[in-house]
Amino acid sequence: MTTTQPLLDIAGLTLELPGTARPLLAEVTLQVRTGEVLGLVGESGSGKSTTAKAALGMLPAGGRTEGRVTVDGTDVLTLRGEALRAHRARTVAMIHQDPRAALNPVRRIGDFLTERLAHAGVTDRRAARARAVELLGAVGLPDPARHVRQRPHELSGGMLQRVVIAGALAAEPRLLLADEATSALDVTTQAEILDLLRTLRAERETGMLFITHDLHLAAAYCDRVLVMYAGRIVEQQPAPALFAHPRHPYTRGLLGCSPTLGGTAADLRPVPGRPPSLAESFPGCPFAARCPEAEPECETWAPVVSPLEPEGGPVPNGPPVPAGEAACRRLPLAASVAPATHGATGASGASTASGASEASAASGAEAAR
């Protein structure tokens, strides 16, 4: 295994359920590398949680699945029985929004942790007990030896989310899936939990898929951010680039309607319409109906994700372009412009060769004018 291999690798994942007009997921492709936080943003029903569950091999029954989901080199969708249980217990851990729903109200905090530890292979009761206390300490609970004896109702929401995180860490997973893990918490508690997750990621070199509806949180916290709409990825860029230069109209729309401190009511521009349900299908771009920039052709354009050229055009011999992509018909495609740059830097390849002839034809036309 090489270090360049992504921890989570989802390739062309499409998921269709009977009785729905559109796929839940359509050609979802993403990678999370070791130590990286990949943000997944989008509105309700965009497919964020389903994407995360795919990493656990928990896709809805009766659906038709295409594509591949690999975690740490293992093909997740073909796992069955004991191998699948081991995958869910040890390799990947998910943190949900509501810690009270994740914890059994009549069992002690310590039992929750020792149960997780047993799944992870720590079967000695005494060792598990000691490890549970250790884990609670690691997530910053002040008096871990007391907390293992308490029940969920005795702790606040922020403390319970720490317990859930301690449980997630019990098996020392390679990949953490945080599904709106801080959305139900007060902002001050959210900051504490995020700080904790960041520290743990640095210490344990886990990768993290961070699902949130809060764009400003994604901007502040993630390395790269991926925007989903109606089961599709519409844009992916490094966090600073996405927020400085959003390229897809939906990303711009989301940013325009997200409340910002220091903003005024005039800055808040709602996106018209509402997120599509599973009963709505689209012959073309799913966002076309709500898009302020849509043209008639968008209604029939089948979305394709294309690499982005850097803002202001390609820079010959400049620093490497940050990897980003978007699925919008109206975006100038990097592929049609890139060859000039690649030609200058001596890159080769089939696409470059054909592109270069186009580029020279274009410059010939320019000269003729």
Binding site: E43, S44, G157, D186, V187, T188, T189, Q190, A191, E192, L194, D195, R198, H213, D214, L215, H216, L217, A219, A220, Y221, P240, F243, G253, L254, C257, S258, P259, T260, L261, G262, G263, T264, A265, L268, R269, P270, V271, G273, R274, P275, S277
Partner: protein, 280 residues
């Protein structure tokens, strides 16, 4: 702020003074959920109440509507000071309902699942004495005012989206032409695009009808868009109150500063936010 004459129509539509509420604690003693809370909201004005969970903001909201009785303090709506006893008799209860209406976080829980949008509004209108023909006409106007069409008018809550349900809940609250509309985390559960639409709608309604808004929220960024004044609560007390831009741009209380520091934004570092929060 004190000393205003509150009996005429020129005074603030909502005047609250020294509001206090305590709850008994299981082990004895009492929890102070609200203490010394006072504010004024003029006609068409809006007040934001912010704070963490457990700060007492919902307790204050519920006292305004009359769902909880205050231990002490006064609430006056349009110059009419509320008695310490709950209203007796149907007429008095309906009169109270016309003073202050409330919109909750989850419209799915606050709407009758059996009623269509139109029926829901008609029920509220007829309860308050509207004649059949007038009620029909008013229901359609209300639906139009909150941006719901004929399809939504005939749909039951399960067939509406979250944003449409909340619009319907707002329409029902407006049906009795209340002087004050209390919104408790009313946009917290909505998608951002829908949240912005509903905030725009509330602003429009406030301008057109002159209803005063009390907007309870944990989200400082949202509060800034919709309120003129902000009251910051911590452990039942108002730690800071004043014009919203001042409170947010130049917070005087360390608690307000901590709340602001914890709001994620570009270049924000959770570790730094935690330090500010702990220093409060």
């Amino acid at each position: 702020m004190a000393g205003t004459q509150e009996t005429g129509h020129d005074g603030p539509v909502l005047s609250v003074d020294a509001l206090r509420k305590t709850y008994p604690l299981p082990g004895g003693g009492r929890l102070t959920a609200a203490d010394g809370i006072g504010f004024r909201v003029p006609r068409g004005g809006s007040l934001g109440i912010v704070g963490e969970s457990g700060s007492g903001k919902t307790t204050v909201a519920r006292m305004l509507v009359g769902l909880i009785r205050a231990d002490s303090g006064t609430i006056a709506v349009a110059g009419h000071v509320r008695g310490s006893r709950p209203p007796r008799g149907r007429a008095a209860r309906l009169a109270r309902a016309r003073e202050v209406q409330m919109v909750f976080q989850d419209p799915y829980l606050s709407l009758d699942p059996r009623l269509t949008g139109r029926q829901c509004l008609l029920t509220a209108l007829r309860l308050h004495g509207a004649q059949a023909a007038a009620a029909d006409e008013r229901a359609l106007r209300l639906l139009d005012q909150v941006g719901l069409g004929s399809r939504e008018a005939e749909a039951r809550p399960h067939a509406l989206s979250g944003g449409q349900r909340q619009r319907l809940a707002i329409a029902r609250a407006l049906a009795v032409d209340p002087a004050v509309l209390v919104l408790d985390e009313a946009v917290a559960a909505l998608d951002v695009s829908i949240q912005a639409q509903v905030l725009g709608l509330l602003e429009e309604i406030r301008r057109e009808t002159g209803v005063a808004l009390v907007f309870v929220s944990h989200d400082l960024a949202v509060v800034q868009y919709i309120t003129d004044e902000t009251l910051v609560m911590r452990q039942g007390r108002a730690v800071e109150q004043g014009p919203t831009p001042h409170v947010l741009a130049d917070p005087q209380d360390p608690y307000t500063r901590a709340l602001l520091a914890a709001v994620p934004r570009e270049g924000w570092d959770p570790a730094e936010a935690v330090r500010t929060v702990r220093a409060r």
